[in-house]
């Protein structure tokens, strides 16, 4: 968003996992794993022209920091950087970039995997795809666990 050099955040400008990887990793980290999610030309049988990401920036940045803190804690990673795009993207553009460093490979792989999977279910970002035939639509997506109005959660039951 505002700080285009931040290691964790939402960006309106192009992002790359290589940039993130070069910004992380101390002398104790023997492994760096990167992941890029890119806009692909076919989705669910439709030819994608471009897409638009709309983000709830203030919350998305908090959620990203929370996900990174959880991954650091779970896998004892060295450092983790993650950026997600908002705005208009063309086919081939990077939508999400993640880099994780750790003393050994498994913690780095596990950290990257955790971050991308949590992004899929928790990050408040929405994608509208535009197709070659001129149509467009908001993609169906994930609903965060335990966040539905009308659904009793364990915490709500304890209050009752």
């Amino acid at each position: 968003m505002a700080d285009s050099n931040a290691l964790v955040g939402i960006s309106t400008r192009p992002i790359s996992a290589t940039d993130l990887a070069s910004a992380i990793g101390g002398r104790a980290d023997g492994a760096v794993v990167t992941f890029e999610g890119r806009v692909r030309v076919q989705n669910e049988g439709c030819s994608v022209l471009r897409l638009h990401y709309e983000s709830y920036d203030a919350m998305a940045e908090e959620v990203l920091r929370e996900i990174v803190a959880e991954a650091m804690d779970r896998y004892a990673a060295g450092e983790i950087a993650v950026r997600h795009r908002s705005g208009t993207l063309e086919v081939g553009d990077v939508a999400v970039a993640i880099a994780a460093s750790a003393p050994h490979r498994s913690a780095a792989f596990d950290s990257v995997r955790y971050v991308i999977e949590e992004i899929k279910v928790r990050l408040p970002i929405w994608k509208r795809e535009e197709y070659e035939d001129g149509s467009s639509r908001w993609l169906d997506g994930a609903v965060p666990p335990g966040a539905l109005a009308g659904k009793a959660t364990p915490a709500a039951k304890a209050d009752a």
């Binding site: 203030a58 919350m59 998305a60 908090e62 994608k127």
Partner: protein, 85 residues
């Protein structure tokens, strides 16, 4: 002691924003209202007839259960199914 109502600001995104034709709403509720009460009020407004009966809701940028009591000046967001990554 005055029993003032709760005035909340509601942010709308993606498909929900298009339903409303606006990215923000203000709703006045009786004091002590919960997230579920707010959702019921919003759904009674014709543009939101298509809103799921249990949309995900965030209060002050955290996902909130339907039982959470709202306070004036809370920043509430209706969260459509997400499609990041």
């Amino acid at each position: 002691m005055t029993l003032a109502g709760t005035r909340v600001r509601i942010l709308l995104f993606g498909y929900y924003r298009e339903l409303a034709g606006s990215s923000e709403l203000q709703v006045e509720l009786p004091a002590g209202s919960r997230v579920d009460d707010l959702v019921a009020v919003i759904r009674s407004d014709p543009p939101f007839a298509e809103l799921p009966s249990r949309p995900a809701v965030a209060v002050n940028r955290r996902y909130a259960p339907g039982s959470q009591v709202l306070s004036s000046d809370d920043e509430v967001a209706l969260i459509p199914p997400m499609s990041g990554g």
